[in-house]
């Protein structure tokens, strides 16, 4: 904006900065508070002394969490899910987006297929029919129930498809003349040319798999098959003292329940924190990628 500095505009500037700082602080404080709780001594937490800085530092809650076998098992299942799920998701998205990105003159039934996929974004069978289907397929309590139903993600497919459409047709024609078939054109020309789009969509999938909890909760009958977020859902949100062994209960008497919950949430948030810089970098371009088309 082009304005001259007036008294009013300077006052506005100061208040604006103060206001924005306060809102950002309000967004951040809950996390800092939980972090402080997770690093504080039981008595301090009980007495309500812990605000934004740990009181009488201890890593005991973290040790407790890291020694907990169910936590690690759930962590492992989530890792499995993220790796397998994202690979399958990406493979299918790329494979589908390529033919669907072709113009009508090259692929006459294109719109029919696009509508076949798009329709599932508009209407779905709902919870119970899907649940019964998984049961009938015998997928309950297997890792596949977390991966296969969401294997094709329509929204990301549309993103990928629109990105592929921006690649000039001449690229494909040139590859054709050089004797490359569709398969080679896709993997050796289209995919390397689309790295930003592929990185964005892969991040969407990774975060999606990492954060998913509901499918684990309903499709796994045994708690030992829960992925991390479903496991956290049961221990953090529906915590229940009756499910603990006596030795665990004794140890817990020395530790604060709020600290342990805090520690678990922090550990589960760390991977997101690690990929956060990439998310920030790619998400905005990802949003544009989805919206820029004519």
């Amino acid at each position: 904006m082009y304005t001259t500095e007036t008294r009013g505009s300077r006052i506005f500037k100061v208040f604006n900065m103060i206001f924005l700082t306060c809102v950002s602080a309000a967004c951040l404080i809950p996390f800092i508070h939980i972090l402080a709780l997770s690093l504080s001594d039981n008595a301090a937490v009980m007495a309500g002394q812990v605000k934004l800085w740990p009181v009488r530092w201890t890593v005991e809650p973290y040790l407790y969490v890291l020694e907990k076998q169910p936590f690690w098992r759930a962590f492992g299942i989530t890792i499995q899910r993220v790796v397998l799920g994202t690979l399958l998701n990406m493979f299918l998205v790329i494979l589908l987006a390529y033919p669907l990105s072709k113009g009508k003159h090259k692929f006459s039934k294109r719109m029919l297929y696009v509508w076949f996929f798009f329709l599932t974004m508009l209407f779905n069978g709902g919870l119970i029919p899907s649940y019964i289907l998984m049961k009938e397929l015998g997928l309950m309590d297997t890792i596949w129930v977390l991966i296969l139903p969401g294997a094709v993600n329509i929204f990301n497919l549309l993103l990928m498809l629109n990105f592929f459409r921006q690649i000039p047709d001449e690229m494909e024609d040139a590859a054709n003349i050089d004797g490359a078939g569709h398969w080679r054109t896709l993997w050796q020309i289209y995919v390397p040319m689309s790295t930003p789009a592929i990185a964005t969509i892969a991040l969407f999938f990774i975060v999606g798999h990492w954060n998913a909890w509901f499918d684990g909760l309903i499709y796994m009958n045994r708690a030992s098959n829960y992925p991390l977020q479903s496991y956290l859902q049961t221990v953090v949100l529906q915590f229940n003292f009756q499910t603990m062994s006596p030795t665990e209960a004794e140890r817990l008497a020395r530790l604060n329940d709020r600290s342990i919950k805090g520690a678990q949430m922090i550990v589960a948030a760390i991977p997101i924190l690690v990929v956060y810089p990439f998310l920030q970098k790619y998400f905005v371009s990802g949003i544009r990628l989805g919206s820029v088309k004519g």
Binding site: V23, L100, L122, G125, I128, A212, F214, R258, K293
Partner: protein
């Protein structure tokens, strides 16, 4: 190349669509898929005779519409304010902070909210206590629950939307501001006559597209934060479908509620895309 994807979608999306036939059956899981008794519209009669059904519909609409409105007003305001900041480091730091909760699951955010909003030990009530406010049970009182849902949803999502609007602002031609400044327009006038009209397209487009969400009050959030004492204000269609279907095993009625919701949503989403397409030439593919 299309074959594997088509097969997956056929099995996991279209087969469940056929499964909505359960809504017209007296479905008993032990009898297998094809050996069920049809009972016509009995399940629908049953759900509309439930005493709390309209309350649930109302809760859904109330929470969802409030979220849509707050989800427009807060990020637009924030984007405008952030746009006034010239300090790049400050701007980027603010964005980084407000954007972060968007990527965490409602499990983690729910756990944090339950802790900080607790009436006995939560930091929010401790803070309010400094001003002499007596503890508020944000998650346990019907008068507070829907607003707590809206506010915490804003906390999670507004940073993300702010960035979309900021992107729209940066795409406005800077020469417009120069011209306006030459004509003597001050900051307010520039915001009102250039920035806002420049964002108009994206604002109206997102408004239209959010029409499809009026029956989605946010299952992930509410399921993790509600409790029986706030069913009166916080039970929404999706949570009811879950409890009826998977906890009480009333498969028929639960599917019937889900089917009605899917149908209404289908009409709303289609309409919103149609408007977006006709008016803004917005195309998904």
């Amino acid at each position: 190349m299309l074959l594997p994807g088509v097969a997956f979608v056929l099995l996991f999306a279209y087969v469940p669509m056929g499964g909505v036939s359960i809504a017209f059956q007296n479905f008993l899981p032990l009898r297998g898929l094809f050996n069920q008794d049809w009972n016509g519209l009995e399940n629908f009669r049953y759900i509309f005779s439930m005493p709390n059904i309209w309350q649930v519909v109302w809760n859904t609409l109330f929470i969802a519409v409030m979220k849509i409105i707050a989800g427009l007003v807060v990020p637009i305001t924030f984007a405008l304010l952030l746009n006034e900041v010239k300090n790049v480091v400050f701007k980027r730091t603010t964005q980084t902070i407000i954007y972060f909760p968007y990527f965490l699951s409602w499990i983690i955010l729910g756990g944090i909210l339950i802790d900080i909003l607790s009436p006995s030990s939560g930091i929010v009530n401790q803070f309010l206590g400094l001003f002499g406010v007596s503890p508020i049970y944000f998650l346990g009182e019907n008068s507070w629950f829907p607003f707590t849902m809206v506010a915490s949803d804003v906390w999670k999502t507004f940073g993300f939307s702010t960035i979309i609007y900021l992107a729209a602002i940066t795409s406005i031609d800077p020469s417009l501001y120069e011209a306006a400044a030459v004509d003597g327009a001050g900051r307010w006038k520039q915001t009102w006559h250039i920035t806002l009209p420049g964002m108009q397209m994206i604002i109206v487009l997102l408004m239209v597209l959010s029409l499809g969400n009026v029956l989605d009050a946010g299952f992930d959030q509410i399921f993790n934060l509600y409790s029986p004492q706030v069913y009166a204000s916080g039970d929404i269609i999706d949570t009811m479908v879950y409890r009826m279907g998977l906890q009480q095993a009333q498969f028929g009625p639960s599917t019937a509620v889900g089917l009605l919701k899917s149908l209404v949503s289908f009409i709303l989403i289609s309409t919103s895309y149609l408007i977006a397409y006709r008016v803004f030439n917005y195309r998904l593919f």
